[in-house]
């Protein structure tokens, strides 16, 4: 296909021909084209189908406000639905397909909905599809869902990468049109740090689309010159292809930079970068958007906004039609006629709603005043328009101008409300702008080029003066004030046929009137009932006309009827970009234990524990599954000795003259009298009296403690202790610092633990049972002088120690411990065996310390010291937390020992029905105890401590199963604790 509509001029690079396909058809354009301009150049008017009625649609606009020309771009996993052809930069090899049709674009079977449209008006679905009841989900809804939606996702993982970043500036200028360029020049010359961002790939905004002059040169040339001057300033950063999509609190703006979307391949680089821009001040210079006028069949391919028609002609050297009519209610529409005629395009007619003389001379065009377009002909492409007078005018392109709306979107992102200006018949930014933002140019209602240039400069100067910069004295660039008279007209009342307001979502003037009739009269009801403004263009061309039509119905003025505000994002933002690098394994960082490498080499299977990766078990050849490994690790530990990396437990170094007193506040039990060289188990409550965390704290010297927390709560406990330190006890001398990552810590557990450690701990340190009894701690050296800390504490219930060395030695230490343990058949054990052994001992862990249980529930009620205050003490005494029938942590075993207990089962008394009213509690943790040879469990049950030996039912209806279980002591192994004191 040749470029039938390509004409002279424009800013495309005719030396670089670009090949692309649309629905498989091969076409050509030039570098500098958008997909839309290239499609028009190739005479492709029909590009898509509308959402509800599957109406044939073309290109309406030349910018990001486009409702109709949405295509699927690229193919395979790169497929990108709902892409606006009007902002898609053409590249060699581009593939685009049209969306939302069954059958071909030209013959869409779904277009039958258009014929039934009289039954499918606003909100019809709320009134039907209710009978029979089951049919909604089985029949109606699947049909509706299938026909809804526009483009398709590929269902494949997005193959591109994305990145994010942070940038800072004194002044952010949003939009590089005339006012933005003028603002950036002023601020840049003053020395302020400026970011100038524009969504287009060529800065200049409307300057590139108009024939107006600035400082005696063409607008486009002046823009290029301004950009060159700015580019030479090292305090100015120019960001093209960058949309400022959201204005957030305190001068933070969200921006999307499209880095490789204009290239055939991203080539391993991020496709897009999501920037958070930290600005001290901002100038919004986002320009304005032209609005259409609604009339019968105003949605046909070939009917376009007048400013867009001018853009295609002036900027891209493409004419959207060969026989053009203009329909306008304002002076600006005449510029389209005049520019087109100037380029030799055949402008046949100018239909002006005003009863006023010609604005300018347009050779060859007939001026019909006080008239309007009422209907059109040409289903897949415009053929003619019919005026209210009945006169038919042949045309393949109708350029429509209903006036211009300032782009106030970002001024509304913090719920600022725009204000109506009668002289412009448009909303302009209101007084409650986001802090630090000022608005300039057309976005502020300064609609002429001269005004925009002047205001850009003056607003920027005011902004930077506030920051202490001296404004440059250079004058604003000069331009003429072009005529801007506009007589509002929102829809042509004489139209009999449907007149579209929201073209993408197929909302017509009739729908708005019906919405009014049914009582949906507030703007929000209108939007929600008719879906107006909810499409991918967010109603950029639809909202204001709709509001005006509703105002007509209510008989009130437009501002009395309401206003619509805009929410982020300004234009749709890919979720990939918002997600940045956080995908797959990079979703969150990994924390590795010091012995990770050793574990990897020794057959460990790893498990995610928060951000940590921990060894779960260490499989040996011949083992038939994880249970084999775990049973062996637990048995061998209980029989001889096992070693486990427990570095992940939080470690907090606590120093200060008031450290002991401080611990008395944060722990429920007392620490004041803990002797130096001893460790104590500590229980922490939340202020609401619920158990929060547990661990051990060792007193290394009079004013120095080392606390351990659970892995999960390390950060939270530290935060809370800082709260106590700074906010509750501000004059205690106590200092906290985390050392979690600093020490590689290993549990060495089992009857041979001491024998093993004797080989590693330097001889100078006596670790005999007498010198270093249960709950002793101290600083030692290992392997010939390496500093270490030794704690005699036990989670497994065996004779056990935890030994800590500086983390850099951790991997080596694991090897050394295993080597030293060889003669005892030492095993490394993972978190599973750790869990088995703690259940065998009845120790509470995360499943029991779940933030819902009290010390009383856990059987630790006696730990809450009566003699002192602590966090949570008072509220733990509330009556319903101390009921006689409160749940208690106890052990469970299946009556039939061959059965496997299920964590999450609920307990029901023997003869009760399994229903919530009879719920006695639940099983928290279960394990197979290799020592006992059967399944064991921990759980909470009402008055459990008084029910030893009772048989209850553990029901798990989700598994459709239940079993009888016996309530037993939670201490399944060595209940007297003889082993750990051995």
């Amino acid at each position: 296909m040749t470029q039938v509509n390509r004409i002279d001029g424009g800013q495309v690079d005719r030396s670089k021909e670009v090949k692309f396909t649309f629905n498989g058809k091969h076409m050509r354009g030039f570098a500098g084209d958008t997909l839309a301009s290239a499609l028009l150049a190739n005479g492709q008017r029909l590009v898509g189908r509308s959402f509800k009625y599957h109406r044939p649609r073309g290109i309406l606009t030349s910018g990001s406000e486009e409702p109709n020309a949405l295509v699927q771009l690229r193919s395979g996993a790169h497929q990108e639905p709902n892409t606006r052809a009007t902002v898609t930069e053409l590249f060699d090899g581009l593939k685009a397909t049209s969306q939302n049709h069954r059958g071909s674009l030209e013959y869409d079977l779904m277009a039958v909905t258009d014929l039934m449209s009289r039954f499918l008006g606003a909100g019809f679905y709320y009134k039907t599809f209710m009978w029979p009841k089951a049919f909604w989900e089985k029949l109606y809804e699947p049909v509706i869902r299938k026909s809804a939606g526009l483009g398709s996702l590929s269902m494949k993982d997005d193959p591109d990468s994305y990145d994010k970043g942070f940038i800072h500036c004194d002044l952010l200028v949003i939009g590089a049109g005339p006012s933005g360029l003028s603002a950036a020049l002023a601020a840049g010359r003053s020395g302020a740090r400026v970011i100038l961002a524009d969504e287009d790939f060529t800065p200049g905004g409307r300057l590139n689309a108009e024939t107006l002059e600035v400082d005696g040169m063409s607008g486009a040339d002046w823009a290029a010159q301004a950009i060159a001057e700015l580019a030479a300033m090292d305090n100015v950063r120019i960001m093209t292809r960058t949309t400022i999509y959201g204005a957030y609190d305190h001068g933070i703006y969200g921006a999307l930079e499209r880095c490789t979307d204009h290239l055939a391949s991203a080539d391993g680089k991020p496709r897009q970068v999501l920037w958070r821009i930290y600005s001290k001040r901002a100038v919004l210079a986002a320009g304005s958007t032209e609005r259409p006028i609604a009339f019968g069949n105003n949605d046909r391919p070939g009917i376009m906004l007048a400013g867009a028609v001018r853009t295609y002609v002036n900027r891209f050297g493409v004419t959207p039609g060969q026989e053009v009519a203009v329909f306008t209610n304002n002076d600006d529409g005449w510029r389209t006629a005049s520019d087109l005629a100037g380029k030799g395009v055949n402008v046949t007619t100018i239909i002006d709603t005003r009863d006023a003389p010609a604005v300018c001379d347009v050779p060859g065009a007939r001026h019909i005043r006080n008239a309007a377009v009422m209907d059109t002909v040409g289903r897949k492409g415009l053929k003619s328009v019919t005026l209210t007078s009945g006169q038919v005018i042949p045309a393949d392109c109708l350029a429509v101008s209903g006036g211009w709306n300032p782009n106030v979107h970002l001024t509304c992102h913090q719920r600022g409300r725009p204000e109506w200006r009668d002289d412009l018949s448009a909303f302009v930014p209101g007084a409650d702008l986001p802090a630090g933002m000022a608005v300039a140019g057309a976005a502020n209602g300064s609609m002429t080029l001269a005004a925009a240039l002047a205001e850009g400069r003056s607003v920027a100067n005011e902004q930077i003066k506030d920051l202490g910069f001296t404004a440059s004295r250079k004058a604003a660039p000069k331009a003429e004030d072009e005529p801007r008279d506009c007589a509002p007209m929102w829809h042509v009342g004489e139209s009999k046929n449907r007149a579209w307001v929201d073209q993408q979502n197929d909302v017509t003037v009739k729908d708005i009137k019906q919405s009014y009739r049914e009582g949906f009269r507030s703007v929000e009801h209108l939007k929600r009932y008719t879906t107006l403004g909810m499409a991918t263009d967010q109603g950029k061309t639809a909202n204001i006309p709709a509001l005006a039509i509703m105002a007509e119905c209510t008989g009130k003025s437009i501002p009395e009827t309401g206003t619509t505000i805009f929410r982020p994002p300004y234009t749709p933002i890919p979720l990939g970009a918002l997600g940045g690098r956080a995908r797959g394994k990079d979703f969150r960082p990994y924390r590795l234990t010091p012995s990770h490498d050793w574990a990897e080499k020794n057959g460990a299977t790893f498990v995610e524990v928060g951000n940590w990766l921990r060894a779960q078990w260490f499989a040996r050849p011949g083992e038939q599954g994880w249970r084999d490994s775990v049973d062996r690790e637990a048995l061998m530990t209980r029989k001889s000795v096992g070693i486990c990396d427990v570095t992940t437990l939080g470690k907090i170094d606590i120093q200060g003259k008031d450290a002991a007193e401080f611990l008395n506040v944060v722990y429920a039990n007392a620490f004041g009298k803990l002797p130096v060289g001893k460790v104590r188990y500590g229980l922490m409550l939340r202020e609401d009296g619920i158990c929060y965390d547990d661990g051990t704290t060792a007193r290394m010297s009079e004013n120095h403690f080392v606390m351990t927390t659970t892995t999960a709560n390390a950060v939270l406990v530290f935060r809370r202790m800082e709260f106590v330190r700074q906010c509750l006890c501000p004059d205690m001398d106590v200092h906290l610092i985390s050392t979690t990552d600093g020490w590689a810590q290993f549990a060495v557990a089992g009857p041979n633990a001491r024998n093993l450690l004797r080989k590693v701990v330097d001889e100078a340190h006596d670790i005999s049972n007498e010198a270093f009894p249960f709950m002793a701690c101290g600083e030692v050296t290992v392997c010939g002088g390496t500093p270490a800390r030794l704690f005699r504490i036990s989670f497994s219930g065996e004779l056990a120690y935890e030994i800590a060395v500086p983390a850099r030695f951790g991997n080596s230490m694991m090897g050394v411990l295993m080597q030293a343990g060889e003669e005892f058949d030492a095993v490394p054990y993972g978190t599973e065996a750790l869990g088995v052994m703690r259940i065998e001992k009845g120790h509470a862990a995360g499943n029991e310390l779940n933030g819902q249980t009290t010390a009383l529930n856990l059987g630790l009620g006696g730990m809450v010291s009566a003699k002192k205050d602590c966090i949570g003490k008072t509220l733990s005494q509330r009556p319903e937390m101390n009921r006689d029938d409160a749940i208690r942590l106890v052990g469970f075993r299946p009556v039939d020992r061959s059965l496997k207990l299920i964590a999450g089962s609920h307990f029901i008394n023997k003869d009760d029905e399994a229903k919530m009213a009879n719920d006695q509690g639940w099983m928290t943790s279960v394990a197979y105890s290799p020592s006992l040879g059967h399944s064991i469990g921990l759980g909470f049950i009402k008055s459990g401590h008084e029910r030893m030996g009772e048989i209850v039912r553990a029901v798990s209806p989700i598994h459709d199963t239940e079993m009888d279980v016996e309530i037993v002591s939670a201490h399944f192994i060595d209940p007297e604790g003889e082993r750990l004191r051995a």
């Binding site: 970043g165 990994y590 010091p594 120093q655 205690m732 060395v805 991997n811």
Partner: protein, 189 residues
């Protein structure tokens, strides 16, 4: 003779790479000791620091080199600071404690952190992708220090001079942090 010997293997030991416009490496034997100023003893502690290092403890968010240039004092908050210096053996804390003569509380932080040095003309451009702090020289001068978060990891960043920065982040996640910095360099190359 002890039967077993331990070998030191910090997570990024030996890492040293050059990219277009950026150098990235893990400094060797960097020791870090935290200093907490006792409540009511701040003046004495600052005095002890000054006499030990020949430099006064700077304001929060700043760092200074000791008089001999061998140690960097970084003030983290009103009552806490780091001293960073080159020291191979695992006894950095007693080494500092001795110098301060009991005027402040000290805790060894060497193994808590993992360090990366990034420098070069494009270092700032790369860091822009992960660092929320404004690193423009007017806003973040030589010696300035900030604790912040990069790619979900707590990081202490110090401008050690010109286009060179020292980055400290947790040693357990050192590999993820390195990956984050390398990705930034790749993405901005």
């Amino acid at each position: 003779m002890p039967e077993f010997t331990l070998t030191s293997a910090p997570p990024l030991a030996g890492y040293d790479q050059s990219f277009d416009g950026v150098k990235l490496g893990a400094p060797v034997d960097l020791a870090i000791v935290s200093i907490a100023l006792p409540l009511g003893g701040e003046v004495a502690a600052e005095k002890a620091i000054k006499s030990a290092y020949g430099a006064a403890l700077p304001a929060p968010g700043k760092s200074v080199l000791s008089k001999d240039g061998l140690a960097r004092l970084v003030r983290l908050s009103s009552d806490a600071a780091f001293v960073i210096f080159t020291h191979a053996t695992p006894d950095a804390e007693p080494h500092v404690a001795e110098k301060l003569k009991g005027a402040a509380y000290t805790t060894d932080q060497t193994d808590v952190w993992s360090a990366l040095e990034i420098s070069g003309a494009k270092a700032r451009t790369a860091l822009e992708r992960i660092c929320p702090i404004d690193l423009h020289a007017d806003a973040f001068a030589d010696g300035d220090a900030a604790r912040t978060s990069m790619e979900h990891l707590g990081t202490l960043i110090i401008r050690t001079g010109g286009d060179a920065f020292l980055l400290l982040s947790a040693s357990s996640s050192a590999k993820s942090f390195l990956h984050a910095v390398e990705t930034s360099i790749h993405n901005t190359a």
